[in-house]
């Protein structure tokens, strides 16, 4: 994925954003990109610029910051430690690249290592062998097993399989009803048997039923259990021995803290995990448990649950979760969107203008329109590092503001757009009238424009622009 990110930067499309970024920042009253980790690293590596290499001594503080960031993201203590050690090994002795600041470079290494670990030989489900192949779904109480079972069934159905669900949670009140309702909603068969506690018997009967009905996959939903619950773990182990699942998926809540290691290791030792599922990734948890999961099981995370609906299932994206763990926002989504929509040639031209500080309202208008193509301003900003929903709520750059700004610029004559300094009181009034806004709005925009020009002058110094672009997507 870094390949992508770097390629993108090489295309020099990023600076095209800078103007809009300054504009948005102006609306916010401050720069919203909050690059906590990178800033801290920048601090700890400040005196490194002269040195040519990252070394043991100059990296100690940086490593502490990384550890801290990982712990704050719920990566388990020992996992964080060994991860930091491996990052250090890799970063040690690397030449400090000219194009990146040391902080950026370290973040880049951390991010790459995270992706490498999380992306650990991602494979599809193994559903070979005599049908029906059995998928065992297991995990703690409330982690999302039943919901995931239904999501997976739907996913497989859409891939042309004939899945059946088996209700083997005989513990939680109404667990069978829940699976029945879900199965009905996706139009798939579910095997249930009430009034028994014999999980193994139910599972075997379900497998027979699947065979009889020519279903080729049986998804077995089980009761939640704490990993230290000896009798329930024993029950699961018996179930596993009886139905010989080809996939044994551990379902883990993305909000899980330090326990993730103990959960993963116990399920792995007792049952053998073939892959994991991280649920509730639609929330704002940093998701460090993902790292603990993979570190312990050595098996890939195969799916991500991203909502309560049966369609809210995604393949797991290691790069996105890596960014999340580092608090960098969902930068890949943003970059993908930008790549889809930013016209490269235009972007290159824009960059040249930037360098010459010749940025006009015509250019600004172009940028606004490109941004609009990418979706609502809020949805774009939501993907930016450091933006959380609370901040978004407070931010009052709504899309109306985008349209209002567009209207104001459109009410200028082409000449005015290129030479805004000629905008006197009379012209401003005309523009306000023409765009259905107030003179104060026009004034505000002009002020923002002035600030932007000033900003760009500083940016047009060699090298500064690169750093600015990177600031938008830390770690690139």
């Amino acid at each position: 994925m870094y390949g992508n990110a770097l390629r993108f930067r090489r295309q020099r499309a990023l600076p095209a954003w800078a103007g809009v970024r300054v504009w948005v920042a102006g609306c916010l009253g401050r720069f919203f990109v909050f690059q906590e980790l990178q800033d801290r690293l920048e601090g700890t590596l400040r005196n490194l610029r002269g040195n040519a290499r990252l070394s043991e001594e100059n990296m100690t503080d940086a490593m502490r910051e990384i550890r801290r960031a990982l712990l704050a993201a719920d990566v388990e203590v020992s996992v964080a430690k060994s991860f930091v050690a491996s990052v250090k090994d890799r970063a040690l002795g690397e030449d400090v690249l000219k194009s990146l600041s040391p902080g950026q470079q370290v973040v880049k290494v951390v991010h790459e290592e995270l992706v490498a670990l999380l992306g650990h030989s991602a494979q599809d489900l193994d559903l070979q062998g005599d049908p029906p192949s059995v998928v065992l779904v297991m995990g703690l109480q409330g982690s999302g097993k039943t919901t995931f079972s239904a999501k997976l069934a739907l996913y497989l159905k859409e891939k042309g399989r004939r899945p059946m669900l088996a209700a083997c949670d005989l513990q939680r009140p109404a667990a069978i009803d829940q699976l029945e309702v879900l199965a009905e909603s996706i139009g798939l068969p579910v095997y249930t048997q009430r009034g028994t506690e014999d999980v193994v018997a139910v599972a075997k009967a379900a497998r027979q039923a699947a065979r009889d009905q020519l279903c080729d996959v049986l998804i077995v939903d089980t009761a939640g259990r704490l990993q230290i619950d000896e009798s329930l773990m024993e029950q699961l182990s018996e179930l596993e021995a009886a139905i010989k699942p080809s996939e044994k998926l551990l379902v883990l809540d993305a909000m899980t803290g330090q326990e993730a290691v103990s959960i993963a290791s116990t399920f792995n030792d007792r049952i053998g995990v073939t892959g994991s599922v991280l649920t509730k990734l639609d929330g704002d948890a940093r998701g460090g448990a993902a790292l603990s999961l993979v570190h312990i099981t050595g098996k890939p995370i195969k799916f991500a649950g991203v909502g309560e609906k049966v369609t809210d299932l995604e393949l797991f994206h290691p790069d996105r979760v890596a960014g999340r763990i580092l608090g960098m926002g969902d930068m890949m989504s943003l970059i993908e969107k930008a790549q889809e929509n930013v016209d490269e040639e235009q972007a290159a031209e824009m960059e040249a203008k930037f360098r010459r500080a010749e940025f006009t309202f015509e250019d600004f208008l172009d940028q606004l329109r490109q941004v609009k193509k990418m979706g609502s301003l809020k949805s774009i900003m939501g993907m930016l590092p450091g933006m959380n929903p609370k901040m978004l709520k407070q931010v009052n750059v709504d899309d109306k503001q985008l349209s209002r700004t567009e209207a104001i610029i459109c009410s200028m004559t082409p000449h005015e757009r290129r030479r805004p300094e000629i905008l006197n009181g009379r012209r401003r009034k005309r523009i306000a009238n023409g765009s259905g806004t107030h003179v104060a709005d026009v004034n505000r925009l002009l002020k923002q424009y002035k600030d932007m020009k000033k900003m760009m002058k500083t940016l047009s110094k060699p090298g500064a622009l690169d750093r600015f672009g990177k600031g938008l997507f830390p770690g690139m």
Partner: protein, 324 residues
Amino acid sequence: MVFGAFKKLKKGLGRTREQVLGRIGAAIRREVYLTEDFLEEVEEILIASDVGVDAAVELTEGIGRRLRKKGGSMQLADVAAVLQEDVARLLGGASAEEPVMQGPPHVVLMVGVNGVGKTTSIAKLAQYHRDKGRSVLLAAGDTFRAAAVEQLSMWADRTGVEIVKQAMGADPAAVAFDAIGRAKAKGIDVVIVDTAGRLQNKEGLMRELEKIARVVQKQLPEAPHETLLCLDANTGQNGISQAKEFTSVVPLDAIFLTKLDGTAKGGVVIAIAQSIDLPVRYVGTGEGAQDFALFDADDFARGLFDASSLDETAQDAAADATEQ
């Protein structure tokens, strides 16, 4: 801390951690000295209980100060005692306080993210109030998740309390409104309102919650009397954001901490207490309606550091230390 760690040790955790814990474990009977390493290890063990980096640093600094005061060395058992004290104090030192009953009806609103144990905890509260001789009515306010109403109905049957429910997809605020109306008419003591799980970053769902609270107030202006955040002890640092976001929508009174029957310590409640001063009032310790206790800060702190597996000598030393 150290000692709970021993138990875990046997369960085979990561090697690094084993080493850390082993080192401290070996030091039980020894005096410990004020060294960076020791403090770092204490900090790590705290972090391993989900208390979070900031709270761990603060607690560790407290230990450092004590050590310094005592001239740089201390019995390890005393360290544990000091930590327990500090944690209990941070948590407001609540010891099994009964809720203050209001109403009637005393209205309890249960909120939280998905799957934490809201419905089960409601069953526990129903059982608790019934055992106190109070009449209880449940409001099936999760009209979203498949079979959520059935689940609560089964709990109402099992605990022998009444329930008000509507069809799936009904307006949860209307269900709560009806339930309180019914309770007022029938002179019921306690109404407990179940809600659908919602992640705190979902604006629409949070607004829905706000509406439930508002509509409840139309029936009873001072309600809800107890708004409880249901929090899973396995939750990591996201618990802080849960507490903050929920309380900004429906002011929370306390936490119901679930799944403490596992090895998870629920340390994040310490970080929560530090940041928004929200106490824990109830704990869940299993899947049955009886698996319930009023929160006791001292117990919790002891659980966090698990002094029980200390050997005799260390225990005596700890007792001496707390008596002094």
